[in-house]
């Protein structure tokens, strides 16, 4: 095979040496040794230049209203304060929307739109001085009625953009003619990212008014662009750099820009380096989260539980600005089918503008809400028909002659049935189903539930233009390699995987490849590290860059040693020319003396994808990643308390580049999803204040919430598409495996209710929500 236009002469599946030494091995995270010894540097750890000022934020005390008074005198004269900066000090644009929506000010100017919105900043000699001073401001906000819920926004017709629906067939008519019908409302909670490292940026003024920003972001190019716009500079006057983040999960995609922009603004005003690190409470109040939604669903099905029609309307709480909500909620619509073929289906989405923080990307990017809704519907139908939910799900999966999605893409790589069956077998589902029935018959208070749910997740940015990546590779005269690409490292192991690919391209040891910080000065116009696509895109770009250098070295070796390219192999740190072996570093030195270029860029764009949003048709995804999980839970019907007893997962990563890293992503993603669906609850009060703004009130899973029996199996397969060495993306899909926890809780409660009573189990299924559902079904007993 000779490759595609995107990969040139490279075969995406096969290495020229014919073997892979680094790729496919469980190499440890490249920074592991530094992390365990405390030597890995995050933004706040890097030594500050002399004279660095610290920034604190002055935030809106109300959720909505005109700014009628802003008295900052006491702030200005407070000890240690060097500058107080408001919107009036912005030399460029007071606008940071990642999509050019014009509704995302860096600092509130004439009005505030959510409680906690930044209104001014203080730059002071110490962090404490800045924070104390910020509290001395008097901000007076005029009366206005905030819209705090999607229902209130719906009544006021408050939208960030028009509705968007993906519809196939005639769901209205099919619902009418279906043998059975059900409907309901399903509230789905949002989720705080809770990256352990909060948002942080350090801005250092350069000559000519240029700005250097060290930032904790998944999207350095966006930070660069925002800083340039805020400062009124061309993009080439700004460099943004990130070596690593202490977690991102989508929360540092668009929403790292504001903090970098504010640090840069303060640096411009004061002429001194400025650092901004949000403390945990501010971070939770001021940054967007996973969208909470209300799903209104209707379903029509036959007596065997085959779905004939589904019509689901999602009201998404976008918050005060557009941010990335349009793409996020498009993905809710894309994933409302999950792994199921529904002949007549409508996924309708309404994008509500509310006076709350602007919700944003979060691992799964809207997909989880779509999937959760259809899985909830499956549970309701199974309960109504007294069919085992696993059997009902199996029946409705995509399969032969029922393999086209509502948006017209053929599910060409459907392995959902296999993955589900494997999960059934490995978890011992049938036997445990019987045991649980016996247990529940004898235990009125502690009830068990069991469920298996599938995941089918589309891989690619649905904004097609983002599916591109660049890399830069240098080889130095001692044979050491410098690797740079547009992807960012947030713990997911991207840098390790890309380095593995580059090492194998040169046939050298992994430790000869130096991984370097992502910077807009080396690789420009990059896409965010998001949509699970980091490795697919950047590993391919880096491989292409490395291959170009290898090809030059090959030609040089052929000429020097009187051989032909076909007889030259790079492996074990050597270059084999026929029977002769030359050290890699030796050949590099000779090539240098012969004036051969030892540096190359690489560029990759994903082939085959296209998407016509107007028509709602196309192939938005290069391929799908699959998985299934089985969860067993115990609930206490008197208190609503929950324990997850056991989890079994089968997940598809294609042919893994690094099994240990992939399994880590699966475990971590599952637990994060479990938090979303069980303990993590966001609560706003009537004034629009977030009351759960610290880990004391917002509970992410701890070690004791995770079951000891937690079995993860990688599905044995290969990506049918030409992704790097047959692997598949792994960042987001595992999060949605946790839907089986919600379904298992549903199952435990369902046993208390006769089939005619629907189970009103919301998400997250907190103890309160479980108790509410238990009480409701008990009271509804005929």
């Amino acid at each position: 095979m000779s490759g595609s236009p995107e990969t040139g002469t490279l075969d995406p599946q096969v290495n020229t040496t014919g073997e892979l030494r680094s790729v496919r091995t469980s190499v440890r995270h490249d920074s592991a040794a530094k992390h365990v010894s405390g030597a890995a540097l995050y933004v706040d750890d890097v030594g500050e230049p002399a004279g660095t000022l610290q920034i604190a934020i002055g935030a809106s005390p109300a959720a909505k209203g005109p700014i009628v008074g802003l008295d900052l005198d006491a702030v200005r004269t407070a000890p240690g304060v060097v500058a107080v900066v408001t919107a009036a000090d912005i030399p460029g644009h007071n606008e940071i929307s990642p999509v050019g929506a014009g509704d995302d000010p860096l600092l509130a100017d004439t009005k505030v739109l959510f409680h906690g919105q930044p209104v001014f900043i203080v730059a002071a000699e110490t962090r404490e001085a800045a924070r104390r001073a910020a509290l001395l401001a008097t901000i007076r906000i005029g009366e206005a009625e905030p819209l705090l819920t999607v229902e209130a926004a719906e009544a006021a017709d408050s939208l960030i953009s028009p509705d968007f629906n993906i519809v196939r067939g005639d769901p209205g008519k099919a619902l009418e003619t279906a043998a059975n019908r059900m409907s309901g409302n399903f509230p789905i909670g949002g989720q705080e990212h809770f990256y352990l490292e909060g948002q942080a940026a350090l801005a250092i003024p350069q000559e000519d008014g240029d700005m250097f920003v060290l930032t904790s972001t998944q999207h350095p190019s966006e930070v660069q662009k925002v800083v340039a716009e805020v400062l009124g500079l061309p993009i080439n006057a700004v460099v943004s750099e990130v070596r690593r983040m202490g977690g991102g999960f989508g929360g540092k995609e668009s929403q790292a820009c504001q903090w970098a922009g504010l640090a840069a603004l303060a640096a411009r005003v004061t002429g001194r380096p400025c650092k901004l690190r949000l403390d945990r409470d501010d971070d939770m109040v001021m940054t967007g989260k996973r969208h909470d939604m209300l799903a209104r669903w209707q379903v029509g099905y036959d007596d065997d539980g085959m779905l004939e029609a589904a019509d689901i309307t999602f009201l998404a709480k976008c918050g005060f600005s557009t941010d990335l909500s349009n793409s996020v909620i498009d993905r809710t619509a894309f994933h409302t089918d999950n792994a199921y073929f529904v002949p007549h289906i409508a996924a309708r989405t309404k994008r509500m503008r509310t006076n709350t923080v602007s919700n944003t990307a979060f691992r799964g990017f809207g997909g989880p809400q779509g999937m959760l809704a259809i899985e909830h519907v499956m549970d309701q139908v199974a309960h109504r028909l007294r069919i085992d939910p696993f059997d009902l799900r199996m029946r409705n999966l995509y399969g032969p002659d029922r393999d086209v999605t509502p948006y017209g893409m053929t599910v060409f790589d459907n392995i959902a049935p296999e993955v589900m069956e494997k999960t059934e077998a490995l978890s011992g589902y049938r036997a445990r189903r019987r045991e649980i029935a016996e247990h529940n018959a004898e235990n009125p208070f502690l009830r068990k539930g069991l469920a298996i749910t599938p995941v089918k997740f589309g891989i690619s940015f649905t904004a097609t233009h983002l599916n591109q990546a660049g890399a830069l590779v240098h080889v130095y005269t001692d044979g050491s390699v410098h690797l740079n690409h547009g992807g960012t490292e947030m713990g997911q192991g991207l840098f390790t995987k890309v380095a593995q690919v580059v090492a194998d391209e040169f046939g050298i040891d992994l430790d000869k490849v130096k991984i370097t910080a992502t910077t807009t000065a080396k690789v420009p116009n990059t896409s965010p590290t998001a949509a699970s696509s980091g490795t697919d895109l950047n590993a391919m770009a880096a491989r292409i860059a490395a291959a170009r250098i290898r090809e030059r070295l090959t030609d040089f070796a052929a000429e020097t040693y009187d051989s032909v390219a076909a007889d030259i192999r790079f492996r074990d740190n050597q270059v084999f020319v026929g029977n002769r072996a030359v050290g890699f570093a030796d050949l590099v030195r000779q090539a240098y003396m012969a004036r051969i270029s030892l540096s190359s860029t690489g560029f990759y764009r994903t082939p085959k994808i296209h998407w016509d949003r107007e028509k709602g048709q196309g192939r938005p995804f290069f391929y799908f990643a699959y998985g299934a999980s089985c969860s067993e839970v115990t609930i206490d019907t008197l208190t609503g308390e929950l324990r997850v007893d056991r989890v079994d997962i089968v997940h598809d990563v294609g042919k893994s580049l690094n099994p240990a890293i992939d399994i880590g992503q699966i475990e971590g993603g599952f637990v994060q999803g479990m938090g979303w669906l069980t303990t993590e609850e966001l609560v706003w009060d009537a004034g629009g204040r977030l009351r759960t703004h610290a880990p004391s009130t917002y509970k992410i899973p701890t070690s004791s919430d995770v079951p000891a029996e937690f079995n993860v199996h990688l599905h044995d397969g290969i990506n049918r598409e030409e992704a790097i060495y047959g692997s598949k993306a792994v960042g987001e899909p595992p999060l949605m495996l946790a839907i089986s926890v919600h379904s298992a809780i549903f199952d435990a409660i369902a046993g208390l209710a006769p089939p005619v009573v629907a189970i009103p189990l919301d998400a997250p299924a907190t103890p309160e929500a479980i108790l509410r559902a238990v009480t409701a079904v008990r009271e509804a007993r005929p």
Binding site: A32, A39, G198, G246, M490, G668, P695, T702, S704, A708
Partner: protein, 163 residues
């Protein structure tokens, strides 16, 4: 400003600090030991755990002045030269980290846990005792594995009693 003197990672340090200076700020800003992280500022996440006189403590809610005369060990002081502490090695070996932000605190808590239990740690105890250390990336599975392995390595190398 009062002066505090303590031993940090075996070295005597003394400095003028405000009475309200937190230990974590003293360590990070004055001593420039940045391996101790701040994840929540409010004693919840455990990213800032250090040892004070051999006991694990959250340094974000401890005053520097409280540590007058104490012996403080941070993550940077755990290794002996280039030789990682067995618990550090176990985290590295067992993929007990992703973004790494929680890792120093996890390791400091783990070493303390092993010592308090005399090296006898079962999985349930580890999970229970680790509740004060949050990790958002790993799902804890590899962390628990790492602590079990580190505990064994500490026991067999005789480091449980020695430290």
């Amino acid at each position: 400003m009062p002066k505090v003197s303590m031993t940090v990672n075996g070295q005597a340090v003394s400095a003028d600090v405000e009475a309200r200076t937190l230990l974590v700020d003293f360590i990070r800003e004055q001593l420039r030991l940045t391996g101790t992280h701040v994840g929540c500022d409010t004693s919840q996440c455990g990213a800032c755990v250090v040892h004070v006189d051999g006991r694990a403590l959250k340094s974000c809610t401890t005053l520097a002045a409280q540590c007058e005369g104490a012996s403080v060990t941070t993550i940077e002081g755990l290794a002996k030269g280039d030789d990682l502490h067995p618990m550090q090695e176990a985290f590295r070996e067992n993929h007990g980290l992703q973004c790494g932000f929680c890792t120093p605190g996890m390791i400091m808590s783990a070493v303390d846990m092993v010592k308090r239990h005399g090296g006898k740690l079962d999985e349930q105890t580890i999970r229970h005792e680790l509740e004060g250390n949050l990790c958002r990336c790993t799902g804890y599975h590899n962390i628990v594995k790492a602590i079990a392995a580190g505990s064994e390595a500490m026991t067999s190398s005789g480091r449980v009693a020695a430290e």
